[in-house]
């Protein structure tokens, strides 16, 4: 229906104005300011010195930064390799109509996502505590030779983090995949069965191509989420400010936080943040290209 009143050319801008104001104030300007900050050394906003590429050059030779990069990459790899397949396996299992109590199981597996990272971190630190933790107490009760002082959290830093993250996020990923599985055309599965395809062939040739776009998104989200690792080590290794024994839990974001907010070196923290951003953007672009290629192929 055509409007009976003439519109001013400013009207669209008026409607856009709230978004533009908020976007400029809370996203565009902070981004730009943090980019400028990466080339500065500051002591609050009033004492600022331009240092050029010093922050980035220091990063290249900063052993702690590379420890953080190595830890984060290990965590991302471990999470990707374990979490996505585990979520897929759970989704396939809970998608079977014959399974009784499916709704309850779905809720149970999804519930750690609802309670959040801090809760999961606290639960894991209590469960895996030396001597008094449930796991060690149980194992020592069952197997006399089990060391009650077994250092799950301190001795196996990365596995502990990956396991806690798995418990936290597998249900979330499972929910995505469950939705995708329920959209797989049943007529294609029936046709494959009639043609004599076994369960694996039906999964590989029908189900998997159908859920691949969702899987691709999950891989990307898991990768990005893993590179933002911060709260879990911060809770599990609170004693050492999230570093863990021998810095084995130090992640890039934890290092960024410590640099910016414990040491007050906001310029260096910004530089770390921008490098992390560039790495994630590059990973996302690479992932997008690869997944497009795969989807086109399939």
């Amino acid at each position: 229906m055509k409007s009976c009143r003439p519109h001013s050319p400013w009207t669209p801008w008026l409607f856009l104005a709230p978004f533009l104001a908020l976007f400029s104030a809370f996203i565009a300007w902070p981004l730009l300011r943090s980019l400028i900050l990466a080339f500065e050394q500051t002591f609050g906003p009033r004492t600022v010195t331009y240092v050029g590429l010093l922050n980035f050059r220091f990063m290249l030779h900063d052993p702690m930064f590379w420890v953080a990069v190595r830890n984060t990459a290990l965590f991302a790899f471990g999470t990707l390799v374990i979490q996505v397949p585990a979520a897929l396996a759970l989704a396939l299992l809970l998608n079977r109509p014959a399974l009784r109590g499916r709704a309850l199981f779905r809720l149970v597996f999804f519930s750690p996502t609802i309670v959040g990272t801090v809760f999961v971190g606290v639960i894991f630190s209590v469960l895996l505590e030396r001597r008094t933790g449930l796991v060690n107490t149980l194992l020592h009760g069952l197997i006399r030779s089990w060391n009650p002082d077994f250092a799950w959290v301190d001795g196996f830093v990365m596995p502990s983090l990956i396991l806690a993250s798995l418990w936290l996020s597998v249900g979330f990923n499972m929910a995505y995949l469950l939705a995708a599985l329920q959209n797989v055309p049943s007529d294609q599965l029936d046709a494959a069965s009639i043609d004599g395809a076994n369960a694996w062939q039906r999964f590989w040739h029908v189900t998997f191509p159908a859920i691949q776009p969702v899987l691709n998104i999950l891989v990307l989200l898991t990768l990005v989420g893993s590179f933002q690792l911060f709260d879990l080590p911060f809770i599990l290794y609170a004693d050492s400010f999230g570093n863990g024994p021998n810095n084995a839990a130090l992640s890039i974001v934890t290092y960024l936080y410590q640099t910016g907010f414990r040491s007050g070196d906001l310029g260096y923290a910004s530089a770390i943040g921008w490098v992390l951003t560039l790495v994630l953007v590059a990973a996302a672009l690479l992932h997008r290209r690869l997944s497009r290629h795969e989807e086109a192929g399939s």
């Binding site: 009143r5 519109h7 001013s8 400013w10 009207t11 008026l14 050394q41 002591f43 609050g44 906003p45 009033r46 004492t47 010195t49 240092v51 010093l54 922050n55 220091f58 030779h61 900063d62 052993p63 702690m64 209590v126 505590e129 030396r130 001597r131 008094t132 933790g133 020592h140 006399r144 030779s145 060391n147 009650p148 002082d149 250092a151 301190d154 290794y237 004693d239 050492s240 400010f241 570093n243 863990g244 024994p245 021998n246 810095n247 410590q258 414990r262 040491s263 007050g264 070196d265 260096y268």
Partner: protein
């Protein structure tokens, strides 16, 4: 023209949008007109509940004497206090007249140019009023930057050895024979036990939290080591630190491990202490108070003694934790703030209340003769814990402040963790064998810290 423009816009909006916009304008006006709580008076921010309780109790008396400047105490927990304080210092947002800061929070305050530090320099006031001589000297060190003192010290925090007197006495061990750590571990070795015969040690002569870097600091400072010299230069790889780290590596790991790993700030750690996982642990005066509140069922089972020295005739104490009270440069009432600060930290009345509530002894030497420090403490088997702490107070080591303190303790603790791995891998607890690795690891830590410090253009003039 402008009126016409707005009239045209209003005409083009639907009634619903006009209603929402109107609602926005009305509510914004109401919020703007709401009365704001007055910010007059003398405001103090504290991060500790016990301190807040003590200072609030004082408010009626202060307000009677200063009706124009009522005392307002705000309890703001750690990270929030640090954020608000630094925001105030950096950007000029409102801050209190006085702020209590813990040692772990002060480094960032000292990171910039001297003139930009948000606390007032108290050096001249302290000198003019003769307080420098009256206050325990080492208590000033964490609050001093580039020769200027920015806070009144709240405490001394001498570290004592808290031990299970019931177990030690039942074993017939005379702690009077202990002078050094070597004596301690030799005499306590019989108590290193596998109690249930499962092949694992259930009781250690000593325990600390291995991941908590402040425990390494206790040993390093006691032995004359540390992280920085008085000029702020890093000393991570000093010969003393190397020697102490090698010894700690041998006690913490390897076949002759003597120290257990318990985080005594957690419920689980306290439970293990109560169950006899360890014979002893190092604890400052504040921890003596905290332990008696957290583990009341153990009353009468603990005793304290001076820390065993690293060598005969050596220092029998160390230091752990610390708090200061600073007057902000933004305060409009610096004289009143100074008067209040002195009263809160140094008056005999407040010193007594602080000791009775927390076991913390005053840094003001004129208070040390007070008789309440001599009262027997039933929790610690009737020992006069205040007096025992004060006997060690003059020997508490200095801790030069640095903005890089957090980095330094992390780097040294990381070196210690790596050394423990070396001890386990090479199956040795012999400090002589661990010393080359300790030196290598601390050399690396020193290089890393120097690289970090060299980046700071604001401290360039103050560094070597």
């Amino acid at each position: 023209m402008v009126c016409h423009f707005f009239a045209e816009i209003v005409r083009s909006l639907s009634p619903g949008i006009c209603f929402v916009l109107g609602l926005g304008v009305v509510s914004a006006t109401i919020v703007a007109l709401l009365p704001v709580a007055p910010h007059d008076g003398l405001q103090i921010w504290v991060g500790d509940g016990n301190h807040a309780m003590l200072y609030r109790a004082l408010a009626p008396e202060w307000n009677r004497r200063h009706p124009d400047l009522p005392l307002r105490v705000s309890l703001i927990v750690g990270p929030a206090l640090q954020s608000r304080m630094l925001s105030g210092f950096y950007s000029g947002t409102p801050v209190a007249d006085l702020i209590e800061v813990e040692r772990g929070q002060i480094g960032q305050v000292f990171a910039g140019p001297l003139e930009d530090i948000g606390f007032a320099d108290l050096s001249d006031r302290l000198a003019q009023e003769g307080l420098l001589a009256k206050i325990n000297t080492s208590s000033f060190s964490p609050w001093t930057s580039r020769g200027h003192i920015f806070g009144l010290p709240h405490d001394v925090h001498p570290v004592m050895l808290i031990y299970r007197a019931d177990l030690v006495e039942a074993a017939g061990i005379d702690v009077g024979q202990i002078e050094t750590w070597a004596d301690y571990f030799r005499l306590m070795r019989p108590l290193l036990k596998d109690l249930d015969g499962d092949g694992y040690i259930d009781r250690y002569p000593l325990t600390v939290s291995l991941t908590n870097p402040f425990f390494s600091e206790i040993f390093l400072l006691q032995g004359g080591g540390g992280y920085f010299d008085p000029a702020g230069h890093p000393t991570l790889n000093s010969a003393t630190n190397v020697r102490i780290l090698a010894q700690l590596g041998g006690w913490y790991a390897g076949p002759d491990r003597m120290i257990g790993d318990v985080n005594m700030y957690t419920g689980s750690g306290l439970r293990q202490l109560g169950e006899g996982y360890a014979i002893a642990l190092p604890g400052a005066d504040w921890y003596l108070g905290s332990l008696s509140v957290s583990l009341p069922k153990m009353a009468g089972k603990f005793k304290i003694m001076p820390l065993p020295a690293w060598a005969k005739g050596g220092r029998r104490t160390s230091v752990n934790g610390g708090t200061m009270l600073g007057i902000t440069k933004a305060s409009k009432h610096p004289e009143a703030a100074w008067e209040l600060a002195k009263y809160l930290y140094f008056s005999p009345v407040m010193a007594r209340r602080l000791f009775e509530l927390t076991h913390i002894v005053s840094p003001m030497k004129t208070n040390w003769s007070q008789t309440y420090y001599d009262q027997p403490d039933p929790y610690y088997s009737g020992q006069p814990v205040g007096r025992m702490c004060l006997q060690q107070a003059p020997d508490v080591p200095t801790r030069p402040a640095s903005p890089y303190f957090s980095s330094a303790i992390q780097l040294v603790n990381s070196a210690l963790n790596q050394l423990m791995q070396v001890a386990d891998r090479s199956a040795t607890s012999d400090p002589a064998k661990l010393e080359p690795d300790a030196r290598r690891l601390l050399d690396q830590a020193q290089r890393d810290l120097v690289a970090q410090m060299n980046r700071n253009v604001f401290l360039a003039g103050a560094k070597p």
